[in-house]
Amino acid sequence: MTAANVRQIVIDIISDIAPDEDVTGLDDSKSLREQLDLDSMDFLDIVMELRKRHKVEVPQEDYPKLATLESCVAYLSPKFA
């Protein structure tokens, strides 16, 4: 799976759990929480949806690796390989 595919998977999940947010034009290097109205429960939802939709598990100690779109892609890509 390409990096672009993984990025889109994350964007799709965010769009579902935060449907009021505009996810176009996000800066991949900036914190998602700086750009979107997301709280800790939303990140739990992201983890949950990755598990439900793609059978990808994110252990609690790795949650900080979901901070930016860039770090999401870097962390998740090997799991989608």
Binding site: I17, D20, K52
Partner: protein
Amino acid sequence: MDDTQRIVMTGIGLTAPNGNNLEEFRTNLLNCKSGVTHAEIRYMGKQVAGLCDFDEFKYQSKKLRRRGTRAGSISIYCANEAVKDSGLNWELVDKSMVGVFLGITEHGNVETENEIYEMHQNNLDWKLWSPHHNPRTVSNSPAGEVTLNLNITGPHYTLGSACAGGNVGIIQGVQQLLLGEVDLALAGGISESPQTFGIFAAFAAQGALAHHEDPTKASRPLDKNRNGIAISEGGCIYVLERLSDAKKRGAKIYAEIVGYAINSDATDFVNPNGERQVECMHKAIKRAGLKISDIDIVNMHATGTGTGDVNESKAVRDAFVSSDKTFVNFTKGHIGHCMGAAGSLELAGNLPSFEDGVVHPGMNVTELDPECEIKNLVFNEPKHIGKVNYILNNSFGMLGINSALIVKKYTV
């Protein structure tokens, strides 16, 4: 009585299967327009149900709707509509002295069923159980969602009181105002019951689930051929305040709450006890300082079950045997059984009688059950009775909880 000890209704927000505000609801009650339809229920297929079509996003973001519950969504809609209707300048209201008191039949079934269903769809992977499950299913959840939405910092909780919930929520609001715990109460009842299959399945197991090829004819209280309850959702929340405060701000006053009672059958889990119902109505009339013949309209709980309707009909006959001028109606033929919302919604449907002198009819009676005959029963056609001063609203529930609420036309 001192105006600080008199509690009045100054705002109404509601959603029913046949109306999303009082005007629409009342019009449809007078015209016998049903809001009951067919809905697809998990595992069971097509069933009769009363569903509301209010705009969930009028007062709530999509994200918070997703995070909360249908009961919370109904509560937020009704609370905002009630505040708007009351004419209060919400910015200036001391939110620490506002309380939210909502009667519920049950809460948490919907989310629990959904989570278990999802887990079964995913090879029993328990790690998919949502982190939102606990805040969604704690009993105070619907009332808590209202406080989050309206920035209310006074007390909030729900009152688990089965299908007496709508009356019980209002009574709690009155009591909190009289105790001085709050200056403003958002009080009433709500229901999300059609979202859970378990309630349908349990009523079906009891042989008490309404069915008819035409869903608008399924809920038939007092009809000889009634076959059970049409499960509905809905909500109705009132702004309650002391008369002294309402007068000070020149508020529109719908009614004054002058009497109420709650009691228990102590006889059975599901079968009602007519004697206790009579006691409950009489206790409310006594508290209001009224004579039985002072009551102009009685709204029956009348759910459409065989035993329940017969017992309550006898109770109403016995309670009002000495009055020739008390008229009786019921509401569930139009909207089904809105469970925790039933009491507060059904009361709202009768409040306009203070202005127009008309009793809305109960609907869907093709052949009145002889055991449900009641003096001055109004069904199928509205009846103009002239001046209406007092309405008594019955709401009863499982485990033998009975409630009666009496409201008076407010006159300066």
